[in-house]
Symmetry: C2
Subunit: 214 residues, 2 copies
DNA sequence: GTCTATAGAATGATAGAC
DNA sequence: GTCTATCATTCTATAGAC
């Protein structure tokens, strides 16, 4: 343990990480609310209460900052897919996966919106992620679903469309939250409503593919 | 019939409509690909092969042009919902509605993307549409679904979440088309694949709510 | 109605003092 | 590492000739 030089170094490093986290969290929200072009470095700096030049110190360009925001939500979604491997039955695997995806839609609505924006515009920045990581991820999960079908555990549905339906439905609660709020008497969904939504979505999809009777 | 003055007037009026339609169609695509802020009047003008000033002649501001693009897709979706009123059984009504929504996702992918963008960003421009037209539309359809439930024609599911699932899933094929293409070996979905997708989505949702056995 | 030229404002990025 | 001041660019919108 080096006793003298370490403490100030750690303090500096700690501050650095705090600043980084602050910038990333603020940028995620501003990018979600205004899109890549609509979000300005000035607006992010103002919200984070930092001088604009400091943003460029940590992230050389606006695109660098944006890319890290997009990668973050993508990795969170990847982690949520463990259930496909660790859970045995389709009911357990899919209901866990749907529940996790709904929880992420509630906890990371801004990240989900940024991702949606990026894909809608043709994924100009994270095109490589779609072609490598996402493609590989999808293929392995398709194999799992095909095995369930072969075993007769679920109806013969196209695994791709099942995955699309889960992605679309769960992310809708984050991406279209403003529309949902308007139709919910202007109120943000509360705990009970999130639980009901999760249960309802899970139930329709599981019943829809003939997996388990809740 | 005024025989002399009419012809040049009609010709002019016809040209005017053609130009309007050209601008709207081009703007829809550019807004979809780059977002409101990312799309520039110059880019729209270039794609439409018109001087930029002509756009401002037909649409005073960028926001006016954008708003008309958004209203267009919204009205197309409203028309697609006739099936709730004209069809008798839940199976007929919902399968027709889902099919129409899927057809619109294929025929108007840019409009769907512009709408998604707008709602993701909190609907700053068409906020009033959500609070008036969409709210009224949704409430009447919720009543129809609640009647089906009361009659025992479908399972007791929350009508809102059923509608959200239909909207999310069908629009996903337009809004996330780039992701879907990437996972489809880089190919645009062909006729057969659209038919399969429609059938698969319809089947899962109808079975999921206990309506009809296909 | 169409087009060129340009005004006026905003933005990404950086230089350079501290 | 932090901050102020500023450059170079780009964008919306309009003026004014045709």
């Amino acid at each position: 343990m080096p006793p003298v030089a370490e403490k100030p170094l750690n303090r500096r490093e700690g501050l650095r990480r705090e600043t980084l986290a602050l910038i990333l969290a603020t940028a995620e929200r501003i990018f979600a609310e205004h899109g890549f072009k609509g979000a300005t470095m000035q607006a992010i700096a103002d919200e984070a209460k930092l001088p604009k030049a400091n943003l460029h110190y940590y992230f050389p360009t606006k695109q660098d900052l944006y890319r890290q925001v997009v990668e973050r939500i993508f990795n969170i979604w990847l982690d949520a897919a463990d259930s496909f491997d660790t859970q045995g039955t389709p009911e357990a695997a899919l209901s866990t996966y749907i529940r996790k995806k709904m929880e992420i839609s509630r906890s990371h609505p801004y990240g989900s919106k940024v991702w949606a924006n990026e894909v809608i515009h043709g994924a100009p920045i994270i095109h490589d992620y779609l072609e490598t990581t996402l493609t590989e991820w999808t293929e392995t999960r398709i194999k799992v679903i095909e095995r369930w079908i072969a075993e007769g555990a679920i109806d013969p549905v196209d695994p791709r469309h099942l995955l699309y339906m889960i992605w679309a439905t769960t992310q809708h609660y984050a991406d279209f939250s403003h529309q949902i709020e308007t139709l919910n008497e202007g109120q943000v969904m509360n705990d009970r409503q999130w639980a009901e939504a999760t249960e309802c979505v899970t139930r329709i999809i599981l019943r829809g593919i003939g997996a388990g009777q809740l």
